[in-house]
């Protein structure tokens, strides 16, 4: 059990600043998700925590002990699961899980016990005699987690462990993973580019871009109160709408942001609500079962061609004819304001 402190961490590959001054404080027992697109530095950050990459500058403390520098991966009290699972191909599932225990010369009997315990936890006892190639993706992923678990690590480092699973399996695997982490209460750092995974798993999310941390917060904070336009558009599907409404009450160069699910026909709101009403020229309506996506443009906008998306839940049965202009509205309390030049949040 241990928290992780990261101070002003940097990693340069030639001219590329893969990680560019990251400060992060990961609490004991926390499930922290590093979210970013490829090249955002999230994997490099994870690999530096693991000790597989040497930082150019900065400090890493795991459980109060400084580990950047010469503490090798094996001595950091971590366990890691790679995207490819990195199972040893010539070893059975049992031998794979036993591998970290053998490395530290654990007695035979204890190995047996621990492996069985871990395999039981992930219900893969049946497969202990098989080879990795005889397993499905989901089973391999669980073997990799088992192997991480038997080390009894202070910290779990997971590098996109669900990315290789098919979409159906990913949901259950996500649930399993979260329950497992709650149960063992071990600090976990999880890297992903999938914002749904990040929202679903993380106690807190770290949004990264170009080697820098953009925002750290709970899924709710990151979703509802993005600190800048990058986070606003990166988190959420479809992304937040950002418009310059040329509102005289706002300072020049202010972008107004609102989530697609908050942009609804004027008529569905009650009379007492404080609304920002816009004229919405509907181009196309996409029927998705539980929702309808309405694509169009806002006529008040400084760039009237920019596509704006409204997401209407199935509970709103109102007909929205394509090619017509409708009155839509967003509750004012749900509007977010950003500076157009810097992208940063701004008070209205």
């Amino acid at each position: 059990m241990a928290g992780i402190e990261i101070r002003n961490l940097r990693k340069q590959f030639g001219d590329l600043h893969a990680v560019d001054g990251v400060d992060l404080s990961i609490r004991d027992g926390e499930f922290l998700v590093l979210l970013g697109s490829s090249g955002s530095g999230k994997t490099t950050l994870l690999r530096m925590i693991a000790g597989l990459e040497r930082p150019t500058a900065g400090e890493i403390h795991i459980g109060g002990e400084r580990v950047d520098g010469d503490v090798p991966p094996r001595a950091r009290g971590i366990a890691m699961v790679f995207q490819s699972y990195a199972l040893y191909p010539h070893r059975t599932v049992f031998q794979n899980i036993a591998f970290p225990l053998e490395a530290v010369r654990t007695p035979r009997k204890e190995i047996e016990e621990k492996v069985r315990w871990a395999a039981d936890m992930f219900s893969i006892t049946r497969y202990l005699d098989r080879y990795p190639r005889q397993l499905s993706g989901g089973e391999r992923q669980r073997v990799a987690l088992c192997r991480a678990l038997v080390r009894d690590p202070k910290v779990f480092l997971l590098d996109e462990p669900l990315a290789n699973l098919d979409a159906k399996l990913r949901n259950t695997a996500r649930d399993d993973l979260k329950r497992f982490q709650r149960q063992i209460q071990t600090t976990t750092v999880y890297v992903t580019h999938d914002q749904v995974e990040a929202m679903g798993l993380g106690d807190r999310i770290v949004v990264m871009e170009h080697g820098k941390v953009r925002q750290v917060g709970t899924p709710q904070e990151v979703y509802e109160d993005p600190v800048d336009t990058f986070v606003a558009t990166f988190v959420g599907q479809p992304p937040m709408n950002l418009l310059d409404l040329r509102d005289p009450s706002l300072a020049a160069g202010t972008l107004v942001g609102f989530r697609p699910e908050h942009l609804l026909p004027r008529s569905v709101f009650g009379p007492g609500e404080d609304l920002r009403t816009v004229r919405f020229a509907v181009r196309r309506v996409e029927y998705l079962g539980s929702d309808r996506y309405v694509y169009g443009s806002v006529l008040e906008s400084a760039a009237p061609d920019a596509t704006v998306i409204a997401k209407l839940p199935a509970t709103i049965a109102l007909a929205i004819p394509e090619g017509e202009t409708h009155e839509f509205a967003v509750p004012r309390r749900l509007l977010r304001y950003f500076d157009a030049a810097s992208g940063l949040r701004r008070r209205p």
């Binding site: 991966p73 790679f82 191909p89 490395a103 192997r147």
Partner: protein
């Protein structure tokens, strides 16, 4: 229907690959009259025994040449060169691929280019070197010189192979409790067994068929290797002792084909794990790639092995190899 096409293709391949072997076999045991009459008599059928078979050519090969001795010499040289090559090329390839960063790749290319300098150029300085060391007319000269062609190629081969083995497995081992050195000594070797086998096979092949250096450095008959002794002893002036030549080719290539087949049959079991066991690469892809590289070899000696070792079923495998060896023997026979 698809199956029929597959088997037809396999059969065609087997015939194509097995024919040189058959031809060697028939020629070995044919009487001379049966061999040469086809030139004047058009009704003569060349691929069957028209006269009763004879052991005449085999007796010539074993009785009047030092063939058994050459086989022994060849095995000795091959064994020594294989050991040297594996000992040097595997660690070199590993370091260049895993530890040397960007420069490793460039150096690997550089090393590979040295392989492209043909022996026909290099034998001049090498012969001076060999005589300076006092190794003229000894097998030691070949054991010294052959690694100059096998090591660069095999280093490059190992590098290429390692590119297909995810580094993550070794990183995982470092996290799981091993030091980098322990990973290199204990974990990595097991992962690169298929690469090592490929190195052994290529070294074998390159050395078996080598002619120029052997011709340059070896002068006494009892120190020759098969690839040198056979054409020198059995092509006298413009008299080709075809029966005995083919007998030599046959007796050298059959055991080799059998041994190589053992390798090939084993290789898939080594390969599968990489792919199915946790990464995306196709295991056969590894073999195929390695062997395609092999086909860069100017004599094209290895180009047939890839598909045989890779995807095709059992029947085609033997065929692939048979062809392969038929090919290389033929080559060495053409040399004089």
């Amino acid at each position: 229907m698809k199956r029929v096409a597959l088997y037809a293709a396999a059969l065609g391949f087997v015939v194509f690959a097995g024919f040189p072997f058959y031809w060697m076999l028939v020629t070995t045991f044919k009487q001379n009259r049966d061999l040469y009459v086809g030139a004047s008599d058009l009704s003569h059928i060349p691929w069957i025994f028209n006269d009763p078979p004879t052991l005449e050519h085999v007796k010539l090969l074993f009785g009047q040449t030092d063939f058994p001795r050459w086989v022994l010499n060849t095995l000795l040289v091959v064994a020594a060169v294989v050991v040297i090559t594996v000992a040097v090329a595997v660690p070199a390839g590993y370091s260049l691929a895993r530890l040397a960063g960007r420069w490793g790749e460039r150096m690997g290319m550089g090393i590979f280019f040295t392989y492209l300098i043909p022996p026909t150029l290099l034998f001049v300085p090498f012969s001076r070197l060999v005589s300076l060391l006092g190794l003229q007319n000894s097998l030691a000269s070949l054991i010294l010189i052959y690694p100059t062609m096998t090591i660069p190629f095999c280093t490059w081969l190992v590098m290429g192979f390692l590119r297909s083995v995810p580094w993550e497995i070794e990183e995982q081992a470092m996290i799981d409790g091993y030091s980098r050195l322990a990973v290199i000594l204990k974990v990595a070797p097991r992962l690169i067994v298929p690469g090592i086998l490929t190195v052994v096979v290529f070294t074998f092949t390159l050395v078996m068929q080598e002619f120029v250096y052997a011709l340059t450095f070896i002068s006494s008959v009892e120190k020759m290797t098969v690839s040198l002794g056979v054409p020198i002893a059995l092509v006298r002036g413009d008299v080709y002792h075809w029966g005995a030549l083919m007998a030599a080719a046959l007796f050298t290539s059959i055991p080799l084909a059998v041994v190589y087949n053992l390798f090939i049959d084993r290789e898939p079991t080594f390969h599968h794990p990489f792919t199915r066991g946790g990464c995306h690469e196709n295991p056969n892809g590894i073999v195929l790639r390695a062997h395609r590289r092999g086909s860069v070899h100017p004599l094209g000696c290895s180009s047939r092995r890839g598909p045989a070792a890779g995807r095709t079923g059992g029947q085609a495998r033997g065929g692939g190899d048979a062809h392969h060896y038929g090919f290389h023997k033929r080559h060495s026979l053409h040399q004089p």
